[in-house]
């Protein structure tokens, strides 16, 4: 690990002032925010990130909250995953997020890892994590997964990079129509969390979000689902104890009796971004959550899938997860 300076701002304003130098593209990688550190510290150990300055956010009390304001849930960037998986409000009214938080890593990592870090974590692709491989995500010329080992890589939305986005919270929050709040030198801005993520074919292939290097993710918010809404997060892991998703399904269904009136279906582990499938959502609305409807939605969701040499198994796997998720909410 290389030497660096540590800054301990006590307010968002001070943190943003420190990060402002990152607006200069030469400085973009030289300064990085540090929250729980469960991803960044491993990146630094592997020389994937080598900042000159770390901005420790842990001292910023105003970023650590999870609250319900008249039916609007607001979660500050420093709220831990453990806090979310133990929250009664989420347990009762936003199971998709509750289950997604619980599915992440191990209890020890959930004690420390934050929502902000989870939403901004870097890819798990074997080549990206291998120090010696100068892949497309690290400024190289080639996505080695495309022709190499690609069991864990994208089947949807890939090219020129074939990473999958590793966040479990992101699909769940997008299924809840969450909004993300970020701020930087040019002021605060907000957007649907769905728009926060970008495909590798858009802009700089090395980044996964539209957040500029001088910007901080401050919070995420969403309206508590209406009565009659049920939701779930189904995650398939290669190793049951704890792992990243081979494929996952975030599903929110609003019912009128047994007829679906509102549907959100977002896939994890299969694309470089959380993969929302509007065609499948449309096919669910007006129907009952029966097997026939579920299978049709699953077919629609994977219709555009283009597997690489080693990951065609993800197509039937993801379809099965979708069917199982829909049936579980019937």
């Amino acid at each position: 690990m290389k030497a660096f300076i540590l800054s301990n701002p006590k307010s968002v304003k001070d943190a943003l002032q420190l990060l402002a130098v990152a607006r200069d593209s030469k400085q973009a990688k030289a300064i990085q925010p540090l929250a729980g550190g469960q991803d960044l510290l491993t990146e630094m150990k592997e020389h994937l990130a080598e900042p000159d300055r770390l901005v420790n956010l842990k001292g910023i009390a105003e970023l650590d909250y999870l609250r319900n304001l008249d039916g609007k849930v607001q979660i500050g960037a420093l709220a831990t995953l453990a806090r979310m998986e133990k929250n009664n409000l989420l347990n009762e009214h936003a199971r998709v997020l509750f289950e997604a938080a619980h599915s992440i890593a191990s209890p020890q990592i959930r004690s420390v890892g934050t929502i902000g870090g989870n939403l901004n974590q870097r890819p798990r692709c074997l080549y990206y994590r291998l120090e010696e491989a100068n892949c497309l995500k690290k400024g190289g010329k080639e996505c080695f997964a495309y022709s190499g080992m690609n069991r864990y890589n994208a089947i949807l939305g890939g090219g020129p990079s074939y990473i999958v986005h590793p966040s479990d919270l992101a699909p769940a929050l997008i299924a809840l129509d969450a909004t993300v709040f970020i701020a930087g030198r040019t002021g605060p801005r907000e957007m649907p969390l769905e728009s926060y993520y970008k495909l590798p074919s858009v802009g700089d292939v090395r980044t996964e979000t539209v957040r500029e290097p001088d910007e901080l993710l401050l919070s995420v918010s969403f309206q508590l689902p209406a009565p009659g809404t049920r939701s779930t997060y189904l995650k398939f892991k290669e190793r049951e104890s704890y792992d990243f998703a081979l494929a996952s399904v975030a599903l929110v269904l609003g019912f009128d009796g047994d007829v679906i009136r509102h549907a959100r279906l977002v896939l994890g582990g299969v694309a470089p971004v959380p993969w929302r499938v509007r065609a499948a959502e449309a096919a669910l609305v007006g129907q009952k959550a029966d097997t026939q409807t579920a299978e049709k939605a699953a077919e629609l969701a994977l219709a555009g899938a283009v597997p690489l040499s080693g990951n065609a198994f993800k197509i039937p796997l993801t379809k099965s997860l979708i069917v199982r998720a829909i049936r579980s909410l019937a």
Binding site: K2, L41, T42, K45, N56, A105, V112
Partner: protein, 163 residues
């Protein structure tokens, strides 16, 4: 790692470990694991993988189980830390002895500390400890020797539950 630990960047940190408070001057990103083992000579906490995958270095920080290899000391200034050396872990340690829950011993400190954190959580939530609950709580602690059954039996013995 040594290159970054120059005196100029050292910060003052206070830690209360197993009831004893110590004031230290340490580099800010020194791992809690190294502070415990090298600066405080508490070598009960073991390093396994060093990257958050094995759970061997689990310690309790302000009541939460955390990985000492993944926690920079600058983020735990003022914290109350408990390690496997804590005397309040005696009943778990005895249970591991009685059930044969330890073999090579590298994972054992992490297992015992994680089990303690989980049992405390069960107690404060008013939930009865179950084998399935223990299995889930120990999901982040890897053992290459025991096959886990003896470890689970040890934890359940300490919890006073017959398996």
């Amino acid at each position: 790692m040594k290159a970054i630990f120059d005196e100029a960047s050292a910060i003052a940190v206070t830690l209360t470990v197993n009831g004893t408070t110590s004031a230290l001057r340490v580099p800010p990103l020194r791992r809690l694991l190294d502070v415990l083992r090298e600066d405080l000579s508490l070598t009960g906490t073991k390093e396994g993988c060093g990257e958050g995958e094995c759970g061997a270095c689990t310690v309790i920080v302000d009541g939460r189980a955390e990985l000492a290899c993944m926690v920079p000391v600058c983020q735990v200034d003022g914290a109350v830390v408990r390690t496997v050396e804590s005397t309040e872990l005696e009943s778990l340690q005895n249970a591991f002895l009685a059930e044969g829950g330890a073999q090579c011993g590298i994972c054992t400190p992490g297992m015992i500390v994680m089990a303690r954190a989980w049992l405390a959580e069960c107690e404060s939530a008013g939930v009865a400890p179950t084998v399935d609950g223990a299995r889930e709580a120990l999901a982040g602690n890897l053992c290459r020797c025991t096959g886990y059954e003896k470890i689970l039996a040890s934890v359940m013995r300490a919890a006073g539950v017959k398996t």
